[in-house]
C-alpha cells in the first residue's frame, strides 16, 4: 500500500517536473526575445504588456477549460496544460526582461554606443548581462507560480502532483491531499532557493 503510493508519487512528481520544465522553457523562449523586441519598439509595449497581463487575470481552472475545445492546441492531456502554464509564466518574465534592459544606466548604454559597439554587441555584452539579475528574478517568480498552478493541470488529465490533490479532495482524504501538496510546496521552495542562489552569483559584479 505505502509502496505503491510511493511509486505513484515518484511518477507524478516526475510528470510535474516535466510539465513545469517544458512550460518554463517555452515561456522563456517566447518572453525573453519578446521583451528585447519591446525595448526596441516602445510603441508596442503598452498593448503587449496589457494583453499578457489580462491572460494572467483569467482564473487558471477556467483557462484550462477554455483551452479544451480549441482545435489543435486544445483537448485533454499534458500539451493543453503546458500551453496554459506558458501563458501564465509569460508575464513575470516579459515584464522583468523589459524592465531589466530599460533600467541599464543610460550613461553605460551611451558609452557603449559612442565607443563603437553595434546594437547586437551592446545587447549581448552590456544590456543582457546587466539585466540578467532582473530577468532571472522574473524567471524565479514564474517558476514558483508555475509549480503551484501545474497542480490544477490534473483537472484536464495532464497528470502531475495535482492528481493526488484532486483524489484527496474527492475522497476527503487528508493524507492523499498532503501527499500531493507537500512535494509541490517543497519543489517550489527548492526552485525559489536555487534560482535565488544563481541570481546572487550573477549580480555580484
Amino acid at each position: 500500500m505505502i509502496g505503491s503510493l510511493l511509486h505513484e508519487l515518484l511518477t507524478l512528481t516526475t510528470q510535474h517536473v516535466v510539465l513545469v520544465g517544458v512550460a518554463m522553457l517555452f515561456a522563456a523562449i517566447i518572453a525573453i526575445p519578446l521583451g528585447i523586441l519591446l525595448t526596441w519598439h516602445p510603441a508596442w509595449r503598452p498593448l503587449t504588456l496589457e494583453a499578457v497581463n489580462v491572460v494572467q487575470t483569467i482564473p487558471s481552472l477556467a483557462l484550462f477549460g477554455f483551452l479544451i475545445p480549441l482545435p489543435l492546441l486544445g483537448g485533454i492531456g499534458p500539451h493543453t496544460a503546458i500551453i496554459a502554464l506558458v501563458l501564465y509564466a509569460l508575464l513575470p518574465m516579459l515584464r522583468n526582461t523589459v524592465t531589466g534592459i530599460l533600467t541599464v544606466d543610460p550613461l553605460v548604454r551611451e558609452s557603449a554606443t559612442a565607443l563603437g559597439m553595434t546594437a547586437a554587441e551592446r545587447l549581448r555584452q552590456v544590456e543582457l548581462p546587466l539585466a540578467a539579475p532582473t530577468i532571472l528574478a522574473g524567471v524565479r517568480i514564474a517558476a514558483v507560480t508555475t509549480i503551484g498552478t501545474a497542480t490544477i493541470a490534473a483537472a484536464i488529465g495532464a497528470g502531475g502532483l495535482g492528481v493526488l490533490i484532486f483524489r484527496g479532495l474527492a475522497a476527503v482524504d487528508g493524507v492523499l491531499l498532503l501527499a500531493g501538496a507537500i512535494p509541490a510546496a517543497l519543489m517550489a521552495i527548492a526552485a525559489d532557493r536555487g534560482l535565488e542562489w544563481v541570481e546572487q552569483r550573477w549580480s555580484r559584479h
Binding site: V108, L115, G116, V126
Partner: protein, 253 residues
C-alpha cells in the same frame, strides 16, 4: 588638414533648434574647449563629431569625410569618448573596460593585453593592483582615469570629452586636469572638451569656443578669451572676477 571640421552644422528636434550654423576646425594636437551653460548646444556639437547626432543641416567632416558617409561603428571606434564617471561598464573589470575597443577591433589578445598594461601604468593604476578590480571598487577619480585609458586604448587620433571631471572634488579634479595636460603633451592628439567651468576651460584649452543658444559666439586662445567682448564670454569672465569681489568684501570694514 583638420582632424574634425564643422561646416554650418545645425541640429533641431522638431521645431526646436539646438545647434545652428556651427562652424569650426579642430587641428591635430590642439584641445578645443566648448564652453557654455546648460542647453547651449555644446554637448550636441560634441556628439556630432562621432555621429551620435547627425546634422539636420551642414556637415561634419572627420578626416575630410562627412560623418553621414562614414559607417558610424567604424567612425566611433577611431574616436575616443569620455563622459562623467567614465561611463564604465560595471560588469567589466578595469582591464576589460580598457580593452574594449581594441577587442571590438579584433586586435590579437596578446597585443590587447600589452596595450592595457601600458595604459594602466601610464594613468597610475598599475594592472597588477587594479586590473582585476571592478569599477565600484574604485574612487570617482580612479574611475575617471580608467575612462580616459579606455578612450585612448585603440590610439584614436581624436578624443571627445563631455564634462568628464564634473562630479569630482576639486583636489582630484586638479590632479586629473594636470594628468590630462601631461598626456596631451605626450600624445599630440586632437581633443574636443565640453565644460561649463571657465577655470577648467582656461587651464586645459589651446582654444576656447564659447557657445550660447546653439551658436558659436566666440572662438580664440585663452589669452584672447580673457579680452573677449562678446556677451556670453563676458558673463563667463565675470565668474572669474566674482571671486575678486569676494576678496574686496572681506577687506571692507
Amino acid at each position: 588638414m583638420p582632424v574634425v571640421s564643422y561646416h554650418g552644422v545645425s541640429y533641431s528636434l522638431g521645431r526646436r533648434s539646438i545647434l545652428s550654423g556651427f562652424s569650426l576646425d579642430v587641428e591635430a594636437g590642439e584641445t578645443l574647449v566648448l564652453l557654455g551653460r546648460s542647453g547651449s548646444g555644446k554637448t550636441t556639437a560634441l556628439k556630432a563629431a562621432n555621429a551620435m547626432i547627425l546634422p539636420t543641416a551642414g556637415e561634419v567632416l572627420v578626416d575630410d569625410r562627412p560623418t553621414t558617409a562614414w559607417d558610424p561603428i567604424q567612425l566611433r571606434r577611431r574616436i575616443g569618448y569620455v563622459i562623467q564617471e567614465g561611463g564604465l561598464f560595471p560588469h567589466y573589470t578595469v582591464a576589460e573596460n580598457v580593452a574594449l575597443v581594441p577587442r571590438l577591433l579584433g586586435w590579437p589578445p596578446a597585443a590587447v593585453e600589452t596595450r592595457v598594461m601600458d595604459l594602466l601604468k601610464k594613468i597610475g593604476l598599475p594592472a597588477e593592483e587594479f586590473g582585476s578590480r571592478y569599477p565600484r571598487e574604485l574612487s570617482g577619480g580612479q574611475r575617471q582615469r580608467v575612462g580616459v585609458a579606455r578612450a585612448l586604448a585603440a590610439n584614436p587620433p581624436l578624443l571627445l570629452f563631455d564634462e568628464p571631471f564634473g562630479g569630482l572634488d576639486p583636489l582630484t579634479r586638479l590632479e586629473l586636469q594636470r594628468q590630462f595636460i601631461a598626456l596631451r603633451r605626450e600624445m599630440g592628439k586632437a581633443a574636443i572638451f565640453v565644460t561649463h567651468d571657465v577655470h577648467e576651460a582656461l587651464f586645459l584649452a589651446t582654444r576656447i569656443a564659447v557657445m550660447a543658444h546653439g551658436s558659436l559666439e566666440f572662438i580664440g586662445t585663452p589669452r584672447e578669451f580673457l579680452n573677449a567682448s562678446t556677451a556670453e564670454a563676458r558673463m563667463f569672465l565675470e565668474c572669474l572676477h566674482a571671486m575678486e569681489v569676494g576678496d574686496d568684501r572681506q577687506s571692507a570694514p
